[in-house]
């Protein structure tokens, strides 16, 4: 008790019982209509519980480029099978360029870029990043072989030994790219999902479908941009199917995440990016399907599809980072599932115990 003369101006101290009674009565301050979803949520000075990945724009850029590379690998192989030479050549060059630039982005994001090759010192199935490094390496090798074969056809003498070797290697390069491409496009979803960032982790059921759809649409978009309409019929169909897959999977993903965890996908910069991605992907796919035989329209739709895919990757990336930064996304879903289990009578699997 102080004897400060100003004490007289203070409101009288209330006992704890009085305070509690007042709170029970609602205190007259709270709006009754707002009281229903009273999600209880505690945190330590608002600090995050889990740490966001220390990754920067390099990683979503890599995920985007890896998707483009994967889709292009498939288009290159398909074009080789259906004898569409321009589409085949362009797709093969696109695949190698995308995978090379993407790989460089990955290395740049490391804390110790000089130790990038340490990724290759082990094979670890519990680490999507390790699995992915090997997928990336294998795909890169096949993409390189495909480009070597492509370039060789241009200036090697048809009867030279090397040209003969390349003629044998060409189908192998095609098949290899086609087989490594889908894992390359899909693993990046698991890369994000296998973390403690709530929005990434909880979206693991649909995110691979979002990513392969986005990869297909983006690569098809690049083909529409680079190749003449006479040869891009398959790419147009792939663009439409990829975009549809992405949009449907994304919709289901948001529904599955629930109110709280879908919030980072809908708000802030991530929300903006993902809204843009939906508009661009949808518009690109429709334009490609309807006006794809016109070179200019095809090019524009290709640009839209590429931009849409980039927005998807950056948007999902950012949403996950945000979900890790705000403790609410970690604590309230965990609290909720804990309480749900308790309500169901499961009391033996909580980390907090009475003894």
């Amino acid at each position: 008790m102080t004897t400060n003369p100003l004490d007289a101006d203070r409101p009288p101290e209330r006992t704890r019982a009085e305070r509690r009674a007042e709170r029970r009565a609602g205190g007259g301050r709270r709006d009754e209509s707002l009281m229903v979803p009273d999600v209880k949520f505690e945190s330590y000075y608002g600090r995050s519980v889990v740490k966001p990945a220390p990754w920067e724009a390099d990683i979503p850029a890599y995920i985007f480029l890896g998707g483009v590379a994967a889709g292009s690998g498939l288009i290159g192989a398909g074009a080789a099978a259906r004898r569409l030479p321009t589409l085949r050549r362009n797709a093969r060059y696109s695949a190698l360029a995308a995978v090379a630039v993407g790989g460089l982005a990955l290395v740049r994001d490391l804390g110790k870029p000089s130790r990038a090759l340490n990724m290759m010192r082990t094979v670890k199935v519990t680490s999507p990043m390790s699995v992915g490094s090997w997928i990336l390496t294998a795909f890169g090798a096949f993409a390189g072989l495909a480009v070597a074969s492509e370039a060789g056809q241009g200036f090697l003498d048809r009867d030279s030994g090397l040209a003969k070797v390349l003629r044998v290697a060409d189908p192998a390069a095609s098949a290899g790219s086609a087989l490594m491409a889908p894992p390359l496009a899909a693993y990046t979803a698991i890369l994000l999902a296998d973390t403690a960032s709530p929005t990434w982790h909880e979206s693991y059921r649909q995110l691979p479908f979002v990513f392969v759809g986005s990869a297909s649409a983006a690569a098809a978009g690049l083909a529409l941009l680079t190749s003449p309409p006479e040869q891009t019929g398959p790419a147009r169909r792939m663009a439409a199917a990829g975009a549809a897959l992405e949009l449907v999977a994304m919709h289901r993903m948001e529904g599955n995440l629930g109110e709280v965890l879908a919030e980072p996908l809908r708000t802030g910069r991530a929300g903006l990016l993902l809204r843009a991605s939906k508009a661009l992907t949808g518009a690109g796919a429709v334009t490609a399907t309807v006006f794809g035989r016109n070179r200019v329209a095809a090019g524009l739709s290709g640009l839209a599809l590429l931009a849409g895919s980039a927005c998807t990757r950056f948007g999902v990336f950012e949403a996950g980072i945000e979900s890790a930064k705000d403790p609410r996304y970690t604590v309230s879903p965990q609290r909720e599932r804990l309480e749900r289990r308790r309500a169901e009578g499961v009391t033996d699997d909580a980390i907090t115990t009475s003894r």
Partner: protein, 357 residues
């Protein structure tokens, strides 16, 4: 499938799973926050012994906590929480609920252990029984009975709720049974030691940062800074003083702790000590006491660092229901596999079906 059982989730002995056959018992911490005085000796000792660089010198406006959180250059972090009587009552309520939920307390162990002193000048509370409570706890009771759910059926009086209290807790890496950081590390820089702990090899880590995002407790972090900073760009965290315990020494933090709030030893013993202590506190009339990490059936298979807390974990910045992310990894790969097949089919259909142009 025997080998794969419990590799990703569930109770197991991590050192055996990592193919160690040294027969060394798993080591761990028991951090009893009820006797922590917030002196931060652990933080300082850890920094000194492990030569951990400075981690910011700001005033954070969070009670006496100017450290902030665990990170690359903070391997012990003392949390300070200020609570008024209402909050204490809530904490007590949640603790009572936990007791009522089951896992009946076995009072017999605490009484059988008997009181003792460890000679360090600190009263050893482990064996204190309800009859000693006024002497040891120096708290009057309100005479309110509280249902302890114990087999002994003793109605224990609750201690009076003060108007204010400080919660102080020294947080540290949990050295999880199923450590997400270790599972996801692509280089093998993180490894399981013969003591069942989790340690980074500084010369192998390439700073990919995957472990940072994977840890469900937000412990490990990539160290920022220029090349002049030791191990900059590399993931860093508590090693449970791997160099010390290999020579039968106590980790620096536990050795420095003046109140024995941080205890170190065989994990099984730590868990027993924790259970005894929480029983004592319940008997003394503090139902808010609870354990964190002592359940091998939890989402990370139990932790190597057991805590005694006096409120819900999130109040201390700990996750209330952490789950090792790799527990879902088989399902994730399955989903990715389906997606990959879908992509292959989608491309094939685009090229096979329809006209060429």
């Amino acid at each position: 499938m025997g080998f794969w059982k419990n590799q990703l989730t569930g109770p197991t002995d991590p050192a055996t799973d990592a193919a160690w056959d040294t027969g060394k018992p798993r080591k761990g911490f028991f951090t009893d926050t009820s006797i922590c005085i917030g002196c931060k000796a652990c933080e300082v000792a850890c920094k000194e012994w492990n030569a951990v660089p400075e981690d910011g010198l700001g005033l954070l406006g969070s009670s006496y906590d100017n450290t902030g959180a665990l990170g690359a250059s903070t391997w012990r972090h003392v949390a300070f929480v200020e609570q008024d009587g209402d909050r204490i009552a809530t904490a007590r309520e949640s603790g009572r609920r936990l007791v009522d939920l089951g896992m009946p307390a076995l009072r017999a162990t605490a009484e059988a252990a008997g009181g003792s002193s460890d000679g360090s000048g600190v009263t050893d509370l482990r064996g204190a029984t309800p009859t000693e409570r006024t002497a040891v706890g120096q708290r009057e009771s309100t005479g309110q009975p509280f249902q302890d759910g114990g087999s002994a059926g003793v109605a224990v009086a609750e201690a009076e709720i003060p108007d204010f209290r400080w919660l102080m807790s020294s947080d540290v890496c949990k050295h999880c049974t199923h450590a997400a950081c270790l599972d996801v590390c692509p280089t093998g820089a993180l490894f399981r030691t013969e003591f069942g702990t989790v340690v980074v090899q500084d010369d192998v880590c390439n700073g990919c940062g995957y472990c940072v995002a994977a840890c469900p407790f937000g412990v490990i972090e990539r160290r920022p800074g220029e090349d002049t900073v030791k191990n900059a760009g590399i993931a860093q965290k508590c090693t449970l003083c791997y160099d010390r315990i290999g020579h039968d020494q106590t980790p620096a933090c536990a050795q420095a702790c003046p109140t024995t709030s941080i205890k170190f030893g065989d994990l099984a013993q730590m868990q027993d000590a924790a259970r005894e202590r929480v029983d004592v506190l319940h008997d003394l009339g503090y139902p808010e006491a609870r354990l964190y990490g002592a359940n091998e059936n939890d989402g990370v298979g139990g932790t190597g660092s057991v805590f005694l807390l006096l409120d819900e974990p999130e109040v201390y910045g700990l996750p209330p229901d952490p789950r090792v992310t790799t527990a879902a990894l088989p399902d994730m790969f399955r989903k990715a596999g389906f997606a990959a097949v879908a992509m292959l089919g989608l491309a094939a259909a685009s090229f096979v079906g329809g006209r060429r142009r």
